[in-house]
Subunit: 293 residues, 2 copies
């Protein structure tokens, strides 16, 4: 039986790791903040003092940190995990990173005969808790098959999208689609209100037709209530759209809608709302039009 | 029992009228093109020579024509329906019109004590055939209640959104949401392809998470197959976004995503693809980036 390790016990990572533990897998964890690891230790996970120590005890190391820099630090800083891992181990990056960085990381780990699977998720904290996340995986097939049983504990819709980085590409696509949907719903509701029409009734009408989306249903509801408790934080969505912009720039690719969404998300974060759910994007459209939220 | 009339037996109107007739309601029709009325006459609907003659025989007149000008002509040209209708009749506009024109029309019909219900739909030809359309209605409650039994034959999700014009406002919102979703999906797939990743796998991964939408499922499939048989024609979506732009201009309202979608839909129609399904919007994003469709 593989020994599993998990680093990054945040809003998403903690319930994901708990689901691994509850399924009976031996699990070690590392967290700078003891409060983050406490529920895992209560479930008989083992705490390690450094990423290096955890890596030494792990066959498969799951990492779910917030950006490329944090991932780099966890793996390659002093006491980082990379040098603790043995040949044949697998690193599973479940956070959202840039496809370019992912491919570079795979090459560096490959030099030590360590496999990398990029496996970002969608579905929010609710999906993490219920073990129904969408998991978009990239990497070699043998390594994917090895970690698949663990993905099945954490996720519902698990797709091996392609080679290394393909999971991150899919996640970038996910964020493009979601941000476009958020903008569309936010503008539709703002249009309705300016026309003197009840936006809640509009949402109700649209849910039954071709306009249906999870965003209209769930995030649309948050927009109408003005309740922006995350969910998924605007600053993280901004970060993800930053990855899209950087990759599009590098590829010489024009993505007008994604660019617009990135600008609006910049404004949302710049207005001090980065800790709100990204559905708070409607506040930017309202402010643009002088409408009090 | 109300005598029903139906004008506008196109891709949507014909199956909608057929569902009314199949439910046992007496139905008269008018069509310039006999081919459009033939299936109705086969189902024992009665053909009339002019909108005026049909109106004289109708208590409730359903109209489903393609734009404000066609609606104006059906009602107010020589042999138009308006002068044929008696006080107490109801006109039900099931096409997509501008909210401003709808409110003006209601005032003009109101002078003759004729009620107007604006009741545009969403759900496409498939929804029209199966009688499961989303129907977004605006107008006085008494008139809405009078036509509700007929809506229930044609639609599944029927919402009385508000006063006169509110149905058209909801439909405009519907088109804002759908066009934003189309752009998001089109850009995501284009991003995936440029990154060397299988867009079909990306779609499959996204369908299981927060990015799920009917547009991703149905129109996303059309985009991947390059099969753009309508469905809903791009030139009609362009027309609807034109309504949104005009209303936003009149209201002094900035809707950046809707404006972008309107521009891209302009390009699609300008490129000669107006008769294709509006999911062909991906062709504009591909052309913009020099990608052969």
């Amino acid at each position: 039986m593989d020994s599993l390790g998990f680093i990054g016990l945040g809003v998403m990572g903690q319930p994901m790791a708990l689901n691994l533990r509850k399924a009976g897998h031996p699990l070690g964890v590392y967290a700078r903040d003891p409060a983050q690891s406490a529920p895992l230790l209560a479930a008989s996970a083992v705490s390690h003092a450094t990423p290096f120590a955890l890596a030494q005890a792990s066959d498969i190391l799951f990492i779910n940190v917030s950006d490329d820099a944090a991932l780099e630090a966890v793996l390659f800083s002093t006491d980082g995990a990379a040098t603790g891992l043995r040949a044949g181990c697998v690193v599973v990056d479940m956070g959202t990173s840039s496809p370019t960085h992912t491919r570079q990381l795979a090459a560096r780990l490959g030099e030590r005969e360590i496999d990398l699977i990029d496996a970002p998720v969608s579905g929010g904290q609710a999906g993490a808790i219920s073990g129904t996340l969408a998991i978009m995986a990239g990497g070699a097939d043998a390594a994917f098959q090895r970690v698949l049983p663990y993905f099945q504990v954490m996720g519902g819709n698990i797709v091996h999208v392609g080679d290394c980085g393909a999971g991150q590409v899919a996640k970038a696509c996910n964020q493009i689609v979601i941000s476009a949907a958020l903008l569309g719903v936010a503008e539709a509701f703002t249009f309705a209100v300016r026309q003197g029409v009840d936006a809640a009734k509009v949402r109700q009408a649209l849910l039954g037709g071709s306009a249906y989306s999870r965003i209209l249903e769930i995030h649309g509801h948050r927009m109408l209530d003005g309740q922006f408790k995350p969910g998924f934080k605007a600053r993280l969505h901004q970060k993800d759209l930053g990855i899209v912009q950087a990759e599009a720039h590098a590829a010489g690719l024009a993505l007008p809608s994604a660019a617009l969404a990135a600008q609006m998300m910049n404004a949302l974060v710049g207005n001090g709302d980065g800790e709100l759910d990204s559905s708070a994007l409607i506040k930017v459209i309202q402010q643009l039009n002088g409408i009090a939220p």
